[in-house]
């Protein structure tokens, strides 16, 4: 009965209640999305690469190297020579080394040149290896393995032709209709940037940069069952696995002091942590801001209720006449406040859910962040609980004011 009274009373003050609901909804959405994206991004971030002990690239910053080699963000400023790659492979303690050649794209998706070993060595999340949904590893320079999203979004299946252009971006002047690569394999989804990558062999990258005539020669050779000899001069980055993890620092120093050319070697875990520190600070600021916004909108609600109580003196007097105790009136105001917050919180949850549905793939494509769209988690429940507790606390201001009014003015409704 009291609840119905509270709801009816809110209904009778529709406009101001609606505005309050909107303001709380926006602030709760902000809080939930900041928290959700923060935890999800961190998770997505940390699961991107695993079981790789060292990443090597040309002399550059460690964050930059991590971003272009793992997240496909930005471009290598310099390549490293094939000799350096061979030197790394041959170094003591190095168990395996997978080269990556970066810098090309296919319809906005990055193209990575690598070796067959990549598909067994690259691990993500909890040391999970890549799996093929269809087909197999590329066998010739003109074959490609697609990440799940590339295949899905561009509608490719096994045996399809794709034109790979030089440079990054959707449009390119080098569209050669008659020099197609064919799809040899499609990977299972991983929730990492691998999903958005076109993988070809290192030779494939070289072939891509050849003239039309040269490519035709390669095609002809392949048709005759010959493996064309393509010289690979450089790679962009090398993923390195060691015999034992404890050798990491030693090998790291060795590579950094390599005399052949200036190289940078990083530990992926440390680089991830460093990137996260930068991002994490921003997220903390966002979090503080969203908490402040929440408090201010709850105070706005308290103000709204407080003002309404001044207008509702008669109503309170009537409630007293029919036998409502001051405690009942206190509860009535609290119920009104909580109803507003509950409605706002759930509206906010749906708002965030829908925004994430819309925004998740964009975040993935542009920032390599893979966000779970399900916001109906225990974390969100805890947040809403906190919001409700805060509401109850702040609503004490108008509720106590109503309680006092009820005590003082008696049952006289003048």
């Amino acid at each position: 009965m009291i609840l119905r009274l509270a709801l009816k009373s809110l209904q009778s003050r529709r406009t101001s209640v609606l505005l309050t609901v909107l303001s709380i909804m926006v602030s709760v959405s902000l809080l939930i999305s900041v928290e959700h994206i923060r935890t999800q991004a961190k998770e997505s971030f940390n699961r991107t690469i695993s079981d790789v002990d060292i990443i090597v690239g040309a002399r550059t910053g460690q964050i930059n190297l991590l971003l272009y080699s793992v997240f496909r963000i930005g471009n290598p400023s310099n390549n490293i020579s094939w000799e350096s790659y061979e030197a790394i492979t041959a170094a003591n303690n190095v168990a395996w080394a997978v080269p990556l050649s970066l810098g090309d794209s296919h319809q906005g998706y990055r193209v990575v040149g690598t070796t067959a070993e990549y598909f067994t060595r690259y691990k993500y999340a909890n040391k999970q290896a890549l799996k093929f949904a269809k087909g197999e590893i590329f066998a010739s320079p003109l074959e490609a393995v697609l990440g799940s999203e590339v295949a899905e979004k561009l509608g490719y299946t096994l045996g399809d032709n794709l034109v790979i252009s030089h440079g990054i971006g959707h449009t390119s002047f080098h569209h050669h209709e008659d020099s197609p690569f064919t799809v040899a394999g499609i990977l299972e989804p991983t929730g990492t940037p691998v999903d958005q990558t076109v993988h070809v062999s290192l030779a494939g990258i070289e072939a891509m940069h050849m003239s039309e005539d040269e490519q035709k020669t390669i095609q002809a050779q392949l048709q005759q069952g010959l493996m064309p000899e393509l010289e690979i001069s450089s790679v962009s980055a090398v993923l390195v696995g060691l015999d034992a993890k404890f050798q990491s620092l030693f090998v790291l120093r060795q590579i950094n002091q390599y005399e052949g050319e200036p190289l940078t070697a990083i530990l992926p875990g440390m680089a991830l942590a460093e990137v996260w520190q930068i991002v994490g600070n921003v997220e903390n600021i966002l979090r503080v801001i969203s908490i402040l916004i929440l408090i201010s909108s709850l105070l706005g609600m308290a103000t709204m209720l407080l003002t309404s109580i001044r207008e509702r003196q008669r109503e309170l007097a009537i409630l007293r006449i029919v036998g409502a105790s001051p405690v009942t009136i206190f509860l009535l105001i609290q119920l009104e406040a909580l109803s507003i917050s509950i409605i706002s919180s759930f509206a906010a949850l749906f708002l965030v859910f829908i925004s994430l549905l819309i925004g998740a793939s964009w975040l993935g494509q542009n920032y390599g962040l893979f966000i779970e769209t399900n916001v109906f988690t225990t974390d969100s429940a805890i947040f809403i609980a906190i919001v409700l507790v805060a509401t109850a606390l702040i609503a004490c201001i108008p509720a106590i004011s109503a309680y006092k009014k009820a005590l003082q003015q008696g049952v006289q409704s003048r």
């Binding site: 009965m1 119905r4 009816k8 109503e315 009537i318 409502a324 105790s325 008696g410 049952v411 409704s413």
Partner: protein, 256 residues
Amino acid sequence: MTSDKETLKDHLTPAIAFKELRFCYPNQEHDIISIDQWEVARGEQVFLSGHSGSGKSTLLNLICGALSPNSGEINLLDKRFSSLPSRERDKFRAKHIGVVFQQFNLIEYLSVAENVELAAYFGNTYVGDTYFGNNDTNADGANNFKSRLLQMCEAVKLPRTILNQSAGKLSVGQQQRVAIIRALINEPEIMIVDEPTSALDSNARDGFINLLMSLAGEIRSTLLFVSHDEGLAQHFSKHVSIEQINNVKVKVEPMQ
């Protein structure tokens, strides 16, 4: 007027009894109420007159339990009302006292039926939270309530269709009649009516007072009718002026 059901005790204990009653507002120096002894017998219909500022409103608040006396006692029915804890007083008021005011008796955003239901809810005479009739568990309570409501609508000559209208849309006369229904729904032993006719024209006023007296009479409710307008005293067999019972003669400005 009497029936077998009334006990001897009911006859003996007055409906309202004041003894050595003193009241002073916390921010004022002098008592505003000082009544040595006053009683209203059960079933009596009393006209209490008094100028504004004579302590009428204060007295009503004391009887309703919204204010507590500084000393002395108020006995209602056979309860020592003034020494009950405030929660108990609120409950007692809900169940045993029906109140009609000058104006603004109803919550405007609720329907007429809901306004009455609210009184029934606090008075505990309405069992179900089911006026809208879509819950079977308390269908009996709801039906019972609804039939009482319809009966009373007829008694105060309001059309049934008014029940689902929001109270704010009624005319003042209609609102006052709904206020009577609201005050009577719990069949209270005591009715307190404070200037209920000042917003009505003279024809409506006489009709209203007669209606009120006959309905209160039907349930043998004690009626305390308070007004500054001594012309209304003609309707009542007993007329008391507050100056007669209140020892405080000092003219005090009314609160608020």
